[in-house]
Amino acid sequence: MQELINRAKELLADGTVARVLGWREGDMSYNPEVAYFNSAEELDKFVYNGFCAANLSKYMIEASKLEGKTLVFLKPCDTYSFNQLLKEHRVDREKAYIIGVGCCGKLNVEAIKAMGIKGIQSIEIDDACETLTVKTIYGDKTVAYKDAMLERCHVCKGKEHMVYDELMGESRDTVDAERFAEVEKIEAMSPAEKFAFFQAELSKCIRCNACRNVCPACSCRKCVFDSNKFDSAQKANVDSFEEKMFHIIRAFHVAGRCTDCGECSRVCPQGIPLHLFNRKFIKDINKFYGEFKAGEDAETKGPLTNFTFDDVEPCDAVERG
């Protein structure tokens, strides 16, 4: 972490960048927040640890409008989002100085709390990122790092950064689950079971829009669900359909553009596994139109703005999907 701070200070000092976009220590050990740093002094509050899960790519949309370059720290998975935004002309490569940072999996405090751990006073992460020592008002606990990781890290896309100016730090292989296993499990259900599953999950939705607003692919200036273009503006969660409409369309709008960064599931206050929508589309796209990784580069045409003459027919897609 200190080397990141030092490098950021260097780049600020020599004028390469006008500011730094990173994470600032929170008031608890697990809640660092995204922050801009404009000076060396401010950087003393910079942190980079297992709880710095936020994908900073989306913040680069606004940062691209500022004078001068912004130094941004991107984890391997974040760089896919950055590339995708680049492809869509939403960020300016010239305005970004990207340090690709290593990642050994990011942590989910909800996973720790789900273990029944309450009243957390501090969480210490050992240097090897193997064990968390959790001090609580009800006693101390230890938790395996792996068990507290975000879902996305268990199916990590890989340790490679897709775009960067320089790389710092090592990444760790964290994959210990099959990426499409959950989707396949649902696919195997009967229609009634599928419906019951999604009904239960989506009935929790409070239409807070956190999934949308954190999503680097959902970067519309004004979402259709906020505009009158389709008579679809709705804040209500009046009944289950609203949520289905919202979540299906949201997933559809990012289909072929979603990098599976997992931010939607991370931020959902109701713990809805929103990635199951996106990942279904990714699985179908891979299957029907060939392997495609959104954000792998900033040029390739997306699968839904492309076609071949002998694409699968929709009814066959349903049968085989």
């Binding site: 989707v183 649902i186 696919e187 259900m189 229609p191 009634a192 079971e193 599928k194 419906f195 019951a196 599953f197 999604f198 009904q199 259709v224 389709f230 679809s232 009046v238 009944d239 359909f241 609203e242 289905k244 409409m245 299906i248 369309i249 997933a251 559809f252 289909a255 929508f277 279904k280 589309f281 179908d284 796209i285 029907f288 139109y289 699968p303 839904l304 703005t305 492309n306 076609f307 071949t308 003459f309 694409d311 699968v312 027919e313 929709p314 009814c315 066959d316 897609a317 349903v318 049968e319 999907g321």
Partner: protein, 145 residues
């Protein structure tokens, strides 16, 4: 709805102006009957059909939605139906995935010369929807009174 009342499904058919709408016209001028439950909306091309329209139809009480366009390769705009095909493949697969009965949505390519196919397709689709019954999973309860 009383048990013995006949189920009259609401079915929305989006037809592209150049092929399928003309196919429907031909079905009409050939007097090839299909149930009155089917109501056609004319769009320039199947690629004009936004998934939002389909979900909207279900929200407001439709029991089935069918999209008809020119056969692949024959699109008036050369490529429109290719995009429509991908979009609908994705959407339909997603609807099936969240537990919507397979068969409430359909895409069919109908040329201007295929009046018979248009009529057969609509007859088939209506009986499929008849067998699936009322759309309860995608509708908005506020619209059901």
């Amino acid at each position: 709805m009383p048990m013995n009342e006949e189920f009259k499904p609401k079915i929305v058919a989006f037809c592209c102006n150049w092929c399928s709408y003309a196919g429907a016209d031909l079905a009409g001028s050939s007097r090839l009957a299909y149930p009155a439950d089917v109501k056609i909306i004319r769009v320039p091309c199947s690629c004009r059909v936004n998934p939002m329209f389909i979900l909207r139809a279900f929200e407001k009480g439709a029991d089935g939605v069918i999209i008809c366009g020119c056969h692949p390769g024959d699109c008036h705009y050369s490529t429109g139906n290719y995009y429509a095909r991908r979009r609908m493949a994705m959407l339909f697969s997603m609807l099936e995935y969240i537990g919507i009965e397979n068969g409430r949505t359909r895409v069919e390519w109908v040329s201007a010369a295929e009046g018979v196919k248009f009529s057969t397709t609509m007859n088939e689709f209506v009986s499929k929807i008849q067998s699936l019954g009322k759309n309860v999973r995608l509708g908005d309860i506020r619209c059901k009174n």
